[in-house]
């Protein structure tokens, strides 16, 4: 996947947009999830206080993360958990593989983990001859289709039940043309049950890791993380280091926010706290950096490390809803993904911070109060300055910066712009103008706001003076 050439977001989105009906359906489905989030949030009197508290806890984590990590490792080890550290994706994959190799095991059952997507673990293990089965239903579906997930919480949100039915018919031998979600889910249940019962190694993600106690929490609705971990001899849990929180009691805050923000549920069905391995079994934690410490050092972007991966910013984003998760060509899509991705690779992901209307809806729903749309705006400036944006965009942005920074130029530019649009419309309504590509150009006002304001303030002042 990583070797393929990436298609820029706007191009991929344009392709997605060709099927109008599907786009509308995608848009509405996600808006439905967003609406559930609102209803759920409004039922909690303390909602805003909760968000503020979560945000403050996360700020505390960011400024103490070194010490918390040291504390976490010591406590986890005391609990009998084996702790590993991975500087990047490659090392993460090697560590996971080395644990498999040590036990001479060639099969793994995995529960949803966006980090392993970020590291392309499945591809890596496949090359080593290890079979990985993703057990979250959505992940399982996209895995069978050889696609990446398109959403961090709802991996198969881009698919219709007809698509799933086709896929299951092909891979699981289900009845052709049976679209019933109940029937399809039952088929996956039967097939995956056998997987759970035969795997010696289970891998899960981590939602929260507690420094004070050395335990970690995994949240699922399906119970797949638990089925895997409690039946396997070896449980490997992989986490980005930002998943750390200081104390166990802080879980109360985050568990109240997470599922409500994600799907509108009051809490996920299972919020499992893993503190010690079962007697005679092994539990590993792989703590991963992979660019996070760099992001921590970027003052403007470090707050993105507060993210608890609820997906609310995606569900609310008008661009995500109408362009689909795959158009973001990054493990984490949507607004937050567009902040995290340029940190991983600036040139490859320079298009993503531009995939936003900057409407601020993401910032408004974020349970940990990340200034998402501000960061997207800041990334644009960094990317233009460092020359990572396409020529046309760079020139346009630089021109705009000059115009906006200089009142006289702004004034003249406005005047001549209005003149051109009114008298020679062909000069702007053409293919060269990227803005016109998707839109009707507005009617040209007779005067600018500034002219209108000057005149009116003069008039109203005169009126006031008369009285």
């Amino acid at each position: 996947m990583s070797s393929e050439k990436t298609i820029p977001h706007s191009e991929a989105a344009a392709k997605f947009n060709k099927d109008v009906e599907r786009v509308n359906w995608h848009d509405e489905t996600l808006w439905f999830v967003r609406a559930k989030r609102d209803k759920s949030a409004h039922q909690i009197e303390d909602w805003e206080l909760l968000r503020e508290t979560a945000s403050q806890i996360k700020f505390n984590v960011l400024s103490n993360i070194h010490d918390y990590l040291v504390e976490f490792e010591a406590n986890a080890q005391r609990n009998g958990i084996i702790v590993h550290w991975a500087a990047d994706a490659k090392e993460h994959n090697e560590i996971v593989h080395s644990i498999m190799a040590k036990h001479d095991v060639k099969q793994m059952v995995k529960s949803k983990s966006m980090l392993t997507e970020e590291c392309h673990l499945n591809d890596y293990l496949a090359e080593k001859g290890i079979e990985v089965i993703d057990s979250d239903l959505g992940e399982y579906i996209v895995q069978l289709r050889k696609e990446p997930p398109s959403h961090i919480v709802l991996p198969a949100i881009h698919l219709k039940k007809e698509d799933v039915s086709e896929t299951f018919h092909e891979h699981l031998g289900t009845e052709k043309g049976n679209f019933n979600p109940q029937y399809l889910t039952e088929s996956a249940r039967q097939s995956l049950r056998n997987t759970f019962l035969t795997r010696k190694v289970a891998l899960t993600g981590v939602n929260f890791a507690v420094a004070e106690t050395g335990e970690f929490v995994v949240c699922t609705n399906e119970g797949n993380a638990d089925m895997g971990a409690h039946l396997a001899d070896v449980h490997i849990a992989c986490m980005g280091f930002e998943k750390l929180i200081p104390k166990r009691e802080h879980l109360g805050v985050f568990l109240r926010l997470l599922a409500r923000s994600a799907t509108g549920q009051p809490i996920t069905t299972f919020s499992s706290h893993f503190k010690k391995p079962r007697d005679g079994k092994e539990m590993h934690i792989v703590i991963v950096d992979n660019g996070r410490s760099t992001q921590l050092g970027r003052e403007d972007f470090r707050n993105s490390l507060k993210c608890i991966r609820c997906g609310a910013c995606m569900n609310t984003c008008p661009v995500y809803r109408r362009s689909g998760g795959h158009s973001y060509h990054n493990a984490v899509a949507g607004p937050i993904g567009s902040i995290l991705a340029p940190n991983l690779d600036m040139s490859k992901n320079a298009d993503l911070p531009f995939a936003s209307t900057l409407c601020g809806s993401c910032t408004n729903v974020c349970p940990v109060k990340i200034d998402i749309h501000d960061q997207l705006y800041k990334w644009r400036q960094v990317l233009v300055k460092e020359g990572h944006t396409p020529k046309a965009k760079t020139i346009a942005m630089k021109t705009m910066a000059t115009v906006l920074a200089n009142p006289t130029v702004f004034n003249i530019a406005g005047k001549s712009g209005r003149f051109v649009m009114k008298n020679i419309p062909g000069m702007v309504n053409n293919k060269m103008n990227k803005w016109y590509d998707q839109r009707e150009m507005p009617d040209v006002p007779e005067e600018s706001f500034r002219e209108w304001y000057k005149k009116n303030s003069r008039e109203s002042k005169a009126k006031r003076d008369e009285q």
Binding site: D46, T53, V164, P246, E249
Partner: protein, 195 residues
């Protein structure tokens, strides 16, 4: 091979100089509502069934009339030995694959999300509530707390190897957002609310 040192060094260098204080959690969880009613409403809302009972006999009768006793029923509660077996705690967890119903007890429940807190000292086996086709959990009405704030106060620094909040039956909505109960874990959850 030590990436640990490298990572920690970079983090120390890059983390903000100014240390943000931890917020006061005591301002949270002061919402007022009827705890039992809320518990029942929320549980129903997420696909579970609340059943109020006065004693263990009522639980036994309920299970007798709602589950097939020919199948494998397991429990950790000696009070239920008449209908469910108790001798499975040390067996290979894989052998629990044919269990129809697991009956366990929770330490306490949380009204705002209907979650029930269980840990491995009352679970018998960690996989027991997940691998069974159906699950029943008993909780005393007096052991219901309003929100997660009180829940963690109650957990405090309780010692456990594994603990989980269980809220409703296993479910998924991964196929076109249609809710389906019984993804991998229990297809149904009965919560016996004991006087």
């Amino acid at each position: 091979m030590s990436s640990k040192g490298e990572i920690l060094k970079r983090i120390k260098l890059n983390q903000p100089d100014l240390v943000s204080e931890l917020p006061n959690l005591n301002l949270l969880g002061s919402e007022q509502f009827d705890v039992l009613e809320t518990y029942k409403t929320v549980l129903k809302g997420i696909g579970g069934d609340p059943v109020e009972v006065a004693n263990y006999d009522e639980i036994i009768n309920y299970i007798k009339s709602n589950y097939n006793l020919e199948k494998r029923l397991i429990t950790t509660l000696p009070e239920l030995s008449e209908i469910a077996s108790l001798d499975w705690k040390t067996v290979d967890p894989h052998s629990l694959q044919d269990v129809e119903l697991t009956v366990i007890k929770a330490h306490f429940g949380v009204a705002e999300n209907s979650g029930l807190w269980v840990t491995d000292d009352i679970l018998g086996q960690r996989v027991a509530p997940f691998i069974a086709q159906y699950l029943a959990i008993i909780v005393h009405k007096k052991d219901l707390v309003p929100t997660m704030q009180q829940a963690y106060q109650r957990i405090g620094n309780m010692e456990y190897g594994f603990g989980t909040f269980i809220a409703g039956p296993s479910k998924t909505a991964d196929i076109e957002q249609s809710l389906v109960l019984g993804a991998h874990g229990a297809r149904g959850l009965i919560v016996f609310l004991l006087d």
